[in-house]
C-alpha cells in the first residue's frame, strides 16, 4: 500500500493548511507557460539555445526594432497543436494572433504577440489521480505567444538580455477545478508527464522552460460564488507550487476567520521564507488593449494534418497505465509510477516481452533499479542495464540459479560492468546452493552455534526458524537456497527432538 501512503500524506498536509476551519473549500486554477523546443524562435530565425552570452541570439525582430516584422515558425504552431490534442482540446477552426499591449522593459515592442479571442485550442481535459479516484481537470485554453527578454535586477538598476525574447511559449490555462494544493501538484505532474511523452519541451522549471502561476481563492463549503482570488507567481518547482498554495490558502482562511477581507492582488512566493508576499506595485487595472495582430495573417489546420499530428502522438500515460493494469496485472501504484516516465514505461514493456512475470519486473524496477537511479542521479535511458540483462537475471532467480538476495548485488554488478548476467554469475560463482550435501555441514553448524534459537523453535516459536535460516544465508554469503535450508533445518530440529 505504498501508493496510498504517498498520495495520502500530502493530502493531510493540504488539509492541515486550512485546519483553522474545515468549512472552507480551496479553489485553484493554474497557468502554465511552456517553452516549446523548436530550433528557432517563434517569429524570427534566431536560435533558441539556452545559456548563450547576453544579446547574442537577437535580431531586429526579437529586439523589436522599428520596421521589423514577425513571421510564424510553423513548428511552434504544430507543437502547440500537439499539446492541445494530447490534452483533448478542440483546435480552433481559425487561429489568430493578437497584440497584448503593456509597457515593460523586457518586452521589446512593449506589446506581446499572443492570442486573445481565437486561441489555438480550448476546452480540454486532464485526468489526475487523487487517492483511489480519478478527477477531471478542465483545460480552459491553450495559446501560443512569444516569450519576453530576461531582466537581471541589480541594486540600483536593471539589466536586460533579449536572448529569450521571442522564444515560443505555450500558455496552458486550467479551469479553477483544483480543490487542494495537492491536486495542483498532481495536475502539474500529470501535465509534465504528458508533455514529456509527446516531446514538445524540456519541461525544466529551474531553467524556466516550464513556469507556473496560480490563482487561488477560498470559499465557505457549499457557497456557489467564488471568493476573492490572489495570483501567485515566482514558484520555481512543483513542490514550491504546493508549498506556496498551502501557505496562501492558510493565509486566506486566517484573514476570513479574523473577519478581514482578501485583497485581489499578485503575490510573489518567497522561496526562502516559504511565504507569499504582495508584489510592491502601484495599483493600476490591467488594460491590455488586445487587438488583432495586423502583421500576421490567420491560420488554420487541415483535417488531414490534424490527423497526422494525432497519429504522431504516442500512447499517453493515462491509457498506458490502464493497459498496464489490465494486461500486466500491475497494481495501480506500480503502473502509475512506471508510466509517469515514457522511457521507463518503454523499458518495462521491453522486459515484459522477454520475461513472463511482469509483476516481478515492476517490483525490481520500482525497487532496486529506481533506488540505484536516484542514488546515482541517472535516467533510465542512460542506465547501463539492458532489458535483456534484467530479464535474464529474473529468469535465473526463477530457475533457482541465483537467490533473490544475490540478485540484489548482481544487479549492481551488471550496471557497473554492463556484462551478461549469466557470465557474471559463472565468473563470480554466485550460483545458488541447493545441493543437500553442500548445505549439510552448514545447517548442522548453525544449529550447534545457536542452541537458544533451536530450543525456542522446538518450544513452538515458529519465528526462531527464520533467524536460523538467516544465519545459514549469512554463512553462505546469500547463495544458499533459503527454501531448502528452511526444510533441512526443520528436519534436523525435528530429529533432535
Amino acid at each position: 500500500m505504498t501508493f496510498l501512503y504517498v498520495i495520502a500524506r500530502p493530502r493531510l498536509v493540504g488539509a492541515e493548511a486550512i485546519s483553522k476551519s474545515m468549512s472552507y473549500e480551496i479553489v485553484i486554477g493554474l497557468e502554465v507557460h511552456l517553452q516549446l523546443n523548436t530550433k528557432s524562435k517563434v517569429f524570427c530565425g534566431c536560435s533558441t539555445n539556452f545559456g548563450s552570452a547576453p544579446n547574442t541570439q537577437t535580431c531586429p525582430v526579437c529586439l523589436g526594432f522599428p520596421g521589423s516584422l514577425p513571421v510564424l515558425n510553423r513548428q511552434a504552431l504544430e507543437l502547440g497543436a500537439k499539446v492541445a490534442i494530447a490534452l483533448n482540446c478542440q483546435i480552433a477552426k481559425e487561429i489568430r494572433f493578437d497584440r497584448k499591449n503593456y509597457f515593460y522593459p523586457d518586452l521589446p515592442k512593449d506589446y506581446q504577440i499572443s492570442q486573445f479571442d481565437q486561441p489555438l485550442a480550448q476546452r480540454g481535459i486532464l485526468n489526475i489521480i487523487t487517492g483511489e479516484s480519478e478527477k477531471k481537470i478542465k483545460i480552459r485554453r491553450v495559446h501560443l505567444e512569444e516569450d519576453t527578454g530576461k531582466l537581471f535586477h541589480q541594486k540600483d538598476h536593471s539589466l536586460i538580455d533579449f536572448n529569450r525574447s521571442g522564444m515560443p511559449l505555450l500558455e496552458i490555462v486550467s479551469e479553477p477545478d483544483m480543490n487542494s494544493p495537492e491536486e495542483a501538484y498532481l495536475y502539474l505532474t500529470a501535465l509534465k508527464s504528458i508533455l514529456e511523452y509527446i516531446d514538445v519541451s524540456d519541461c525544466n522549471m529551474e531553467e524556466g522552460s516550464l513556469r507556473c502561476d496560480a490563482n487561488i481563492s477560498i470559499r465557505k463549503k457549499g457557497d456557489n460564488a467564488l471568493g476573492t482570488k490572489t495570483e501567485i507567481k515566482n514558484m520555481n518547482s512543483f513542490k514550491g507550487v504546493k508549498l506556496a498554495l498551502e501557505y496562501e490558502s492558510k493565509r486566506q482562511a486566517e484573514l476570513l476567520e479574523g473577519g478581514k477581507k482578501i485583497i485581489q492582488e499578485t503575490r510573489l512566493y518567497n522561496t526562502e521564507k516559504c511565504v507569499t508576499e504582495p508584489m510592491r506595485s502601484k495599483e493600476e487595472a490591467h488594460d491590455y488593449r488586445y487587438f488583432p495582430e495586423p502583421d500576421l495573417v490567420p491560420f488554420d489546420f487541415e483535417e488531414s494534418f490534424l490527423e497526422k499530428i494525432h497519429k504522431g502522438i504516442p500512447e499517453l500515460p493515462e491509457p498506458k497505465r490502464n493497459r498496464f493494469i489490465k494486461d500486466y496485472r500491475l497494481s495501480n501504484y506500480d503502473s502509475a509510477v512506471i508510466v509517469s516516465d515514457k522511457d521507463t514505461a518503454d523499458y518495462f514493456e521491453k522486459c515484459a516481452g522477454l520475461y513472463g512475470n511482469p509483476k516481478a519486473i515492476a517490483n525490481w524496477l520500482t525497487g532496486d533499479v529506481f533506488a540505484y537511479m536516484k542514488e546515482n542521479n541517472v535516467l533510465i535511458k542512460d542506465l547501463n542495464l539492458k532489458p535483456e540483462h534484467l530479464s535474464d537475471m529474473l529468469k535465473m532467480i526463477d530457475s533457482g540459479v541465483i537467490t533473490g538476495k544475490i540478485a540484489k548485488t548482481l544487479l549492481i554488478e551488471i550496471i557497473a560492468t554492463g556484462a551478461d548476467p549469466r557470465r557474471l554469475v559463472k565468473e563470480k560463482g554466485l550460483e545458488q546452493i541447493s545441493d543437500v550435501s553442500l548445505l549439510e555441514a552448514t545447517t548442522s553448524q548453525v544449529i550447534r552455534e545457536n542452541p537458544k534459537s533451536a530450543e525456542d523453535f522446538k518450544n513452538g516459536k515458529e519465528n526462531a526458524i527464520m533467524f536460523l535460516v538467516g544465519k545459514v544465508m549469512q554463512q553462505t554469503k546469500g547463495r544458499a537456497d533459503p527454501n531448502k535450508v528452511n526444510e533441512m533445518l526443520r528436519e534436523k530440529l525435528k530429529g533432535v527432538k
Binding site: 528557432s40 544579446n55 515558425n73 539589466l159 488593449r289 488583432p292
Partner: protein, 98 residues
C-alpha cells in the same frame, strides 16, 4: 462630451506619455471634437457585419523552423542609450510599476 480630462489623463498614462496641464486641456478639447466627428459611425447598424482587420484573403503564412544568423551583438546594442556588459541598462524596476 465624448471624452473628458480624466479619461485623457488615464489614457495618456496607459500610453506612458506625460502631459502638462496645458497639454491636457488642449488635447481634451481636440480629441473631443474628433470623437464627436467620429460619432457619425454610431448612425450605422453594424450588428450583422464582420470586422475587417485585414484586407488580404491570405492565411497560413509560415516560415520553416530553421536557425538564421543573429545580429552580431555589437550591432544589436549599438543604438542603446545605456549598456552594461552587453546588457541593456534601465532604471530599477519596482514591482509591476513599469
Amino acid at each position: 462630451m465624448a471624452i473628458n480630462k480624466d479619461t485623457v489623463k488615464y489614457t495618456a498614462n496607459l500610453a506612458r506619455i506625460e502631459l502638462s496641464n496645458e497639454e491636457l486641456d488642449h488635447f481634451t478639447g481636440q480629441l473631443d471634437r474628433i470623437l464627436a466627428y467620429v460619432d457619425k459611425l454610431s448612425t450605422l447598424n453594424v450588428t450583422s457585419l464582420k470586422p475587417t482587420s485585414h484586407v488580404l484573403k491570405m492565411k497560413n503564412v509560415y516560415r520553416e523552423d530553421a536557425v538564421k544568423a543573429s545580429l552580431p551583438v555589437s550591432e544589436a546594442i549599438k543604438n542603446a542609450p545605456l549598456l552594461e556588459n552587453n546588457l541593456f541598462k534601465v532604471p530599477k524596476i519596482i514591482g509591476l510599476e513599469a
